[in-house]
């Protein structure tokens, strides 16, 4: 008698569990179809076949190297020692050269004195508009097709090209430099400014707001 009453409850539970599992599978399948369709239709969707990281680096190595003091995460200058040495070695392996802030400033002054030195900002459009190194060209390496027409001719003509992004664990400058190398810019001309715009602004150096060469300069030293 007791068994008769337990058996149906167990059967019902098993059926319900099976039903829920089936429903979950259905949700997963329909959800994935929806997700890929939404990505396809979204104006900022990813192109699945594109390799967005031609660097092929293990980003976590650098992230760990720069991690993770509260200062580093809040965007202030990291208190920990600079990870420049492993980064320089990593870049050297790829035929790129790392430069520090002093060299970047030197090249910035040279860019004003003579033709042949250019700066490339490898951040996205909104960051570029918020403020970039004066005269720097905008080049978001995740939308290269948009920027190649403007950037490639000047890179071919330039003798030295300084590529930068935010600094810290940002490797967009490296990605951009490798993209330029891959389209035929000699890597001897390419310099990666590792500490990037964060160090530049921390040193209170001038930045340009908005479009390139619009004369809207902000001198942070004032």
């Amino acid at each position: 008698m007791k068994d008769d009453s337990i058996q149906p409850v167990a059967t019902v539970r098993r059926r319900t569990a099976g039903g829920v599992l089936l429903e979950a599978v259905l949700v997963a399948v329909i959800g994935m179809a929806f997700a890929f369709a939404a990505n396809q239709m979204s104006p900022c969707g990813l192109v699945l076949a594109r390799n967005y990281f031609p660097t092929g680096t293990n980003n976590s190595v650098r992230a760990v190297a720069t991690a993770i003091s509260p200062a580093a995460t809040s965007g202030a200058s990291p208190a920990s020692p600079s990870p420049a040495q492993p980064l320089a070695a990593e870049l050297k392996q790829k035929g790129l050269q790392l430069i520090d802030g002093r060299r970047a400033i030197q090249l910035f002054h040279e860019s004003h004195l003579k033709q042949g030195v250019i700066f490339i900002d490898a951040r996205d459009e909104s960051h570029y508009r918020d403020g970039h190194i004066p005269g720097a060209y905008e080049f978001d390496p995740y939308h290269p097709e948009k920027y190649f027409p403007a950037v490639l001719p000047v890179c071919r003509a330039a003798k030295q090209i300084v590529v930068y992004c935010n600094g810290g664990d940002c490797d967009d400058s490296e990605t951009a430099a490798l993209l330029l190398r891959d389209v035929g810019i000699p890597n001897q001309k390419l310099f990666v400014y590792g500490d990037g715009i964060t160090e530049w602004t921390n040193n209170r150096l001038p930045i340009e707001i908005g479009a390139r060469n619009n004369e809207n300069l902000r001198n942070l030293k004032q």
Binding site: A24, I30, F36, N39, L46, A49, Y52, F53, S60
Partner: protein, 165 residues
Amino acid sequence: MKDGQSSRNRLIADTFSILARWLLGAAFLYLGLNKAFNPIEFLKLTRQYDITQDALLLNSIAAALPWFEAFCGLLLLAGVAVRGTALTLAVMLVPFTLLVLHRALLLQAASHIPFCAVSFDCGCGAGVEFICRKLLENFVLFALSVWLLAGRGRRFCARYSLAGC
């Protein structure tokens, strides 16, 4: 007297269940859309876990996951396939939480700071967060999923079960 108490308890449980469903749905919708509208950022953050070196697979994960989360969020808000969706989310939360925990332990080992002082953008859609807070959040989301999976929160559902409400 006993019936009154029991119906009051049921009312409380029902109200909590509806709120749990809406909260879970809203959380996944918000976190999913946050990532879906910044896919490049999410792609970079996904890469930090070294799940795969294959570009197509990495792109697929980064492209689909945010929209999938938003989709699940919408289902819960509307009350469609609630238990199936709750099971999907609970199953998803386990590996995500383990990945975040693993990365936090790596960062802690590299930086020699207390575990709860480790903070980073885990790609979860809420920016830089302290790890202990993130783990707690994930635990709450997991607990809410399990609560809904147990068959609660049937009221105000468009279609509680695909097999029939």
